[in-house]
């Protein structure tokens, strides 16, 4: 019976969301009909989408003070904003946009690219050695023609295959921070691997140093803090040279020059208005099939999902174990009669319950372990475990306090010491009592892990972000991971239900009588 109802819920979800999706498009059309955009000047009172912390962001604020500016986390969201009608115009780097527009017939450029600026990698001001090494390396490849060949292949000929570059782990490992969904020709994820000009350049640099290289995928806005706190060795994105940035970081030799472009839906742009817009929308099922094909099968994107799923599950399990152990300890301290023990525990509980997990997560990553090279998965485990521990401690306490005093006294009077009384008499009863509440806490924890993308962990949510950025399809990846999270929770609930059942003493008797 229960299984049937889950399937029902699943279908209900599908049927509710599909119509909404088409509604959103309809709405977008109605708002854009007012006036077509013919030049950059028309942007002044429009809704403009930019990437938070980018030069486009700064430019839009300066140039169009009247406009409503939407700051997004990554390029994919800027694009989706325009496509879904949340913004009228988006601004992004002109080179990547050219590539994107090749595969997306809906979008068009407004005017020509503008605000050209050199771009380069970013280095920590304290690490002058790496900075000069890069410049020396860059001079070498410029001299021997490798650089020219790279530019030729990626930007002119459109060859998007990575050449084989050996990065032996001779002299250690180089950590590059980047944004994997930046877009070609600079960087993109294909077949679960980073490819692009940036990637090739960074790899060649690592090879030059005789080091192996690791790419940490981050939010664009988090790159510079990560560099200055030492989380990464250098920033491998097309970082535009600005005065503000120069104060914080050193730029390597510029390896390219790019401008910005504004883009919008073709039907909103005056120069495209003559184009025939009659497109026969695919039927419902073929569109689902197409979505499935592009979001899952193409470029082996299911690998991304699988990796993300694995990460989400690992973090969930580790954080649950850590949180439970921590909760036990905190609960013990909290229940102690000694003020030196119970007051710190009380403070811990109220702080952890009173601050968002995301903030704790970032504090641990960027502040506590600022100068330590630590696996972000461990950071996530610690942050979620600490949060879970605070709640668990209170759940445990209420469970233990709910057991009559007589149970403890009977154990003590029989000759058990306090610890043994706890283990043999109080604990088994507590476990049974708190399981129903604890179940909810663990499921909350699993869902909470969806924010680890902030510290460069590629979990399920991040995987969907990446796919979204490649396919510009918001709907399918989001629904898919919603279902995946739901399934994880469902399995967890079943496991915990089973646990609840087998800890029921009467269940044991039934089992005994059967055998």
């Amino acid at each position: 019976m229960r299984n049937v109802s889950y399937i029902k819920i699943f279908f209900l979800m599908l049927f509710f969301i599909f119509p909404l999706q088409s509604n959103a498009n309809g709405e977008a059309q109605s708002t854009s009909n007012t006036k077509l955009i013919s030049s950059l000047d028309d942007l002044k009172n429009k809704r403009i989408g930019v990437m938070l912390g980018s030069t486009h962001d700064a430019f839009a604020h300066k140039q169009y003070p009247q406009a409503e500016i939407f700051q997004y986390k990554g390029p994919a969201d800027v694009l989706l904003g325009v496509k879904s009608g949340k913004t009228d115009v988006g601004i992004y780097n002109s080179v990547s946009l050219t590539e994107i527009l090749k595969i997306d017939p809906e979008l068009g450029l407004i005017d020509k690219p503008f605000e050209f600026s050199p771009v380069g990698f970013g280095f920590n001001k304290k690490n002058i050695e790496l900075h000069s090494q890069f410049n020396a390396f860059f001079k070498t490849i410029k001299d021997n023609g490798v650089y020219e060949d790279m530019i030729d292949r990626w930007t002119k000929k459109g060859i998007t295959d990575m050449p084989k570059i050996d990065t032996p782990n001779k002299n250690g490992i180089l950590v590059a921070g980047h944004v994997s969904d930046g877009g070609l020709p600079f960087v993109t994820l294909r077949n679960n691997e980073n490819v692009g000009l940036n990637i090739e350049l960074a790899k060649r640099f690592a090879a030059y140093l005789g080091k192996d290289i690791r790419f940490d995928d981050m939010e664009f806005g988090g790159l510079i803090p990560a560099l200055t706190t030492g989380k990464i060795d250098f920033i491998a994105v097309t970082l535009m040279f600005t005065e503000e940035r120069k104060q914080k970081i050193n730029f390597g030799e510029p390896y390219y020059e790019i401008g910005m472009s504004a883009f919008a839906l073709k039907k909103n742009i005056a120069s495209y208005s003559h184009e025939n817009q009659t497109t026969n929308g695919p039927t419902f099922f073929t569109s689902i099939l197409n979505s499935f094909q592009s979001n899952i099968i193409q470029e082996k994107r299911y690998l991304l999902i699988l990796d993300g799923l694995k990460t989400t599950i690992i973090i969930s399990i580790l954080a649950t174990i850590f949180g439970t152990l921590l909760g036990g300890i905190i609960c013990f301290l909290r229940m102690s009669k000694n003020k030196l023990l119970n007051i710190p525990a009380k403070i811990y509980i109220s702080i952890l319950r009173g601050t968002p997990v995301l903030v704790i997560l970032m504090i641990i990553f960027y502040v506590v372990f600022a100068s330590v090279n630590i696996n972000p998965i461990i950071v996530a485990t610690i942050a979620f475990g600490m949060n879970c521990g605070a709640y668990a401690a209170e759940i445990f306490r209420s469970g233990i306090e709910g057991i009559e005093k007589g149970q403890m006294e009977a154990g003590i009077a029989m000759g058990f010491n306090k610890i043994k009384t706890f283990i043999y008499i109080i604990l088994p009863q507590t476990v049974r009592r708190i399981l129903p509440i604890y179940k909810g806490e663990i499921i909350t924890l699993v869902k909470m892990t969806s924010i680890v993308g902030y510290i460069a962990v590629q979990d399920l949510t991040k995987a969907s972000d990446i796919i979204r950025s490649r396919t510009f399809d918001a709907f399918f990846p989001l629904i898919m991971i919603a279902i995946l999270y739901f399934l994880i929770s469902l399995i967890l609930i079943h496991i915990l239900d089973y646990l609840e059942k087998i800890t029921d003493p009467k269940y044991k008797r039934k089992a005994r009588l059967k055998s």
Partner: protein
């Protein structure tokens, strides 16, 4: 076996146990009785240190258990306790309740513990409930399991803390008969109880506790049939009393009558007795009346719920004065009436106090 010296227990300013010294010998069954709130349970719980005494010393088999070096859990193993609220381990079956201690504390094998526990369950008549859980048992069954659980640890002494107080009246006897059987087998026991008849026939010695002390102790015969001290008498005979003070000749006689009636009603004193009491009081007051401006009269009516005895006590202060001995009376009708309704009339004059005690005929 147990020696208690100057034991005291305070909770903040509240003194529960003042100063208790006593001994309990091997094989003895001691009942501890007394009004509620006089520290009976606290005394018992101090013996196994469930409550930490505030002063004094306790020796079990010559070992001072208040000494920091003493292994208290080890001593508790030979001195188990049965609680008013049973306290069976609710996550364990009846059998597991019995075997937990022997297996975990004494290292007995599971097989052996099971066998012995089944024997004990048979003894308390609950072998067929071995696989059940505590919440499936009645109160009486629970308490019998609790007793069996105690016995499984093979204790040398068992402390019973009001074992039948939480039970339905219909279930009291099944628990008491198990305790009786243990007494017959020679188990050393200390029992806090309100079951007087049981205490009387099961114990070798009775402690009457009052005011944080062992107020009176003795054989059951001494305590129940001939208690020496006032409070013991009041408690054993379940005496309730009513006091009325008269200071002038013009006191409110009707109010006095009304209050006596209310007292009689509360004590369920028979109508005839009530009428007799009122008449005797009236006649006595006539005898006392001429003197009431000079002396103060205290009237006390005491009724024993146990024996249904009704006593009237008249007390005055001053020179020796017995109203029944007055030569200046106009007639002796009043005296005759008093003599008809009462069977014992005792007059005492001591320390400036006149005390006239009249016991009514039943």
């Amino acid at each position: 076996m147990i020696k208690v010296e100057n034991l005291s227990k305070r909770y903040g300013d509240l003194v529960v146990l003042k100063d208790i010294s006593t001994k309990i010998k091997k094989g003895e069954v001691v009942s501890i009785i007394g009004p509620s709130g006089t520290g009976k349970s606290t005394f018992l719980r101090c013996l196994n240190l469930l409550d930490e005494p505030s002063g004094g010393s306790i020796f079990i088999d010559g070992e001072n258990i208040l000494d920091k070096k003493t292994d208290v859990p080890k001593i508790r193993q030979k001195m188990n306790m049965v609680f008013q609220s049973f306290n069976l381990f609710s996550h364990l079956s009846v059998l597991e309740n019995l075997t937990l201690g022997p297996i975990k504390l004494k290292g007995v094998s599971k097989k052996e513990a099971d066998k012995k526990s089944m024997d004990l369950l048979k003894m308390v008549g609950l072998a067929e409930k071995a696989e059940n859980y505590p919440d499936e048992l009645s109160g009486g069954q629970k308490q019998r399991v609790a007793i069996a659980r105690c016995l499984a640890m093979e204790p040398e002494i068992i402390l019973f803390d009001e074992p039948t107080s939480a039970l339905d009246p219909t279930m009291v006897s099944e628990v008491l008969s198990v305790i009786r059987r243990l007494a017959k087998d020679g188990m050393t026991m200390a029992i806090v109880t309100h079951e007087m008849a049981f205490a009387r026939d099961v114990s070798n010695r009775v402690f009457y506790m009052d005011q944080g002390l062992i107020y009176e102790e003795g054989s059951p015969k001494q305590i129940f049939d001939a208690p020496k001290k006032d409070r013991t008498k009041v408690f054993i005979n379940r005496i309730r009393n009513f006091i009325f003070k008269i200071k002038t000749q013009d006191f409110d006689f009707y109010a006095l009558n009304a209050e006596i009636e209310v007292f009689c009603e509360k004590q369920i004193i028979q109508k005839i007795m009530r009428a007799n009491l009122l008449r005797v009081v009236e006649e006595l007051l006539i005898l006392y009346k001429p003197f009431l401006n000079k002396i103060e009269l205290e009237l006390e009516i005491a009724h024993s719920e146990k024996t249904n005895q009704l006593t009237l006590i008249c007390q005055t202060t001053g020179n020796k004065f017995n109203p029944l001995d007055n030569k200046d009376l106009e007639d002796d009708i009043g005296l005759k009436i008093i003599n008809t309704f009462t069977e014992v009339r005792e007059f005492k004059w001591a320390g400036n106090k006149n005390r006239l005690e009249l016991l009514f005929k039943n």
